[in-house]
Every structure is written in structure tokens, then in C-alpha cells.
Symmetry: C2
Subunit: 104 residues, 2 copies
DNA sequence: CCATTATTTTGTTAATTTGCAAATTAACGA
DNA sequence: TCGTTAATTTGCAAATTAACAAAATAATGG
């Protein structure tokens, strides 16, 4: 599970994910948009693949990469639950409710 | 902004954030729960502080650390918007709506 | 099977990160 | 100002990461 955060921690990899956001791209397509050498790009794609954030299929000589949003979604939801983000506040205890209504 | 992802990419730092989730703790408190030396812990706390994920105040000889949830919240919300997570699906085009209602 | 295209693997280097022990700083109370 | 407690900074080693060029692999078309 920790591999996802590692994968997200590099700006080049986040750029790749954003490029894939609107649809699948080949390694070569990505190469024209991401300012690193092809071997370096290939390494980043491998990190993303191992984290489950992208899926790959082959089409002839090219490799087609696509985003796997659900993995990202699960990771974010998990973080949100852990830190209680975007969730209803804890229901106040009766005592807290009384104090809140009192003059002091 | 990229510092937040970097900060989150280390498991020890995520553990620290979780420990702070339920309330503030001193560096010493954290030290008893996190299995690294105090200098190492201090380094991690500094990374979290620079990312804005924690705030610090001094209380006599101790340093009190507390979670800054809003920074984490903003980062996650930004990611969700970027990848259109937890948002209503794209409004269907008129044509798509017609096709959806048809038998084929 | 050979040439071409697309991509990955290998080998290497430089930079960054993580870890610890030892030394240092900061605040407090006697 | 000492001595004590709490935490950080410094200095250094080991591990990891990101980058590239060159070589290797895989698939296709002739």
C-alpha cells in the first residue's frame, strides 16, 4: 500500500498520471510530453505500474498505458477516513452539548 | 506544494501524522511511539513542518506538535479534482442521453 | 530472416534520503 | 550560574532514487 504514496511523491510521475487522466497513451506519446529520456520515462512507468496506478497492454510494438483511477481513489478515501476529512463532525457528547448552550 | 507528497511518502512520517490525529503531542511523546532515534524523529518532524502538515509551539523545554489537517485536506481535495474522484460524472451529451434511452 | 520501429534493460553516476551517535542549544528551577 | 531535561543540529555512512547513453528485446512488414 505504501508504494502508492512513493509513486505519487515524484513530480514527473504525477505529470504522467495527469497526462493519462483524459485517456490512454503509448509510451512514445508520453515521451513527447514528459521532459525525460525514454529509459527514465520507462522507469517511472514501471514504478506507477507496480503501485497499480496504471495498467499496460501491448499493441504491436507499442505499449499502451492507462490510468487505473480506482486504486488512486481507494488510497485517497483511505487517507480521508484516517484523518476524518470530509466527514461529519463527531457527534457532540451530551455534556458538550450542555456546555455549548451555557453562558460559560 | 510538491513537498506534501514527499512528506507523505515516508511511512514513519505517516505514522507520526496518525499519532497526531487525536491530539497534540510533544516530541518526547512521539519518540516513545515511533521506533527511530530522536535525531531521526526530529528530522522527520522538520520535513512535516516544512510541508505545513504540522505546527509547533514551545512549552518550556518541550516542543508541542499538532496536526494541521487543513493542509492535508487541501492537498487531497486538489488531487480529487484533478482526477475527478468523488464527483458527479460528466453530464451526458444530448446524443448520449438519447442513445442511453434507446433499445440499442 | 532482415530491417525498422517502439520500448525496456543494463550499467553507471550524481544527488537525495534515512539513519545514528555525539555535540549543541534552549528553557527552567535551585 | 549550575545542573537537568527536552529537543535539535552536526557529521557521517548506507541505502535509495533519478538521470542518461548504450545495448538488448519484442513485434511487424517485406
Amino acid at each position: 500500500m505504501s508504494e502508492i504514496y512513493k509513486a505519487l511523491s515524484d513530480p514527473t510521475r504525477r505529470q504522467i498520471l495527469e497526462l493519462l487522466r483524459d485517456g490512454e497513451l503509448t509510451a512514445g506519446d508520453l515521451s513527447t510530453h514528459v521532459p525525460v529520456s525514454k529509459p527514465t520515462l520507462s522507469g517511472h512507468l514501471n514504478v506507477l505500474k507496480n503501485a497499480g496506478l496504471v495498467d499496460v497492454t501491448r499493441d504491436g510494438t507499442r505499449m499502451i498505458y492507462r490510468l487505473n483511477v480506482s486504486v488512486l481513489e481507494d488510497a485517497l478515501m483511505s487517507l480521508m477516513r484516517t484523518f476524518r476529512i470530509g466527514q461529519p463532525d463527531q457527534a457532540p457528547t451530551p455534556t458538550a452539548a450542555i456546555l455549548k448552550g451555557s453562558k460559560l
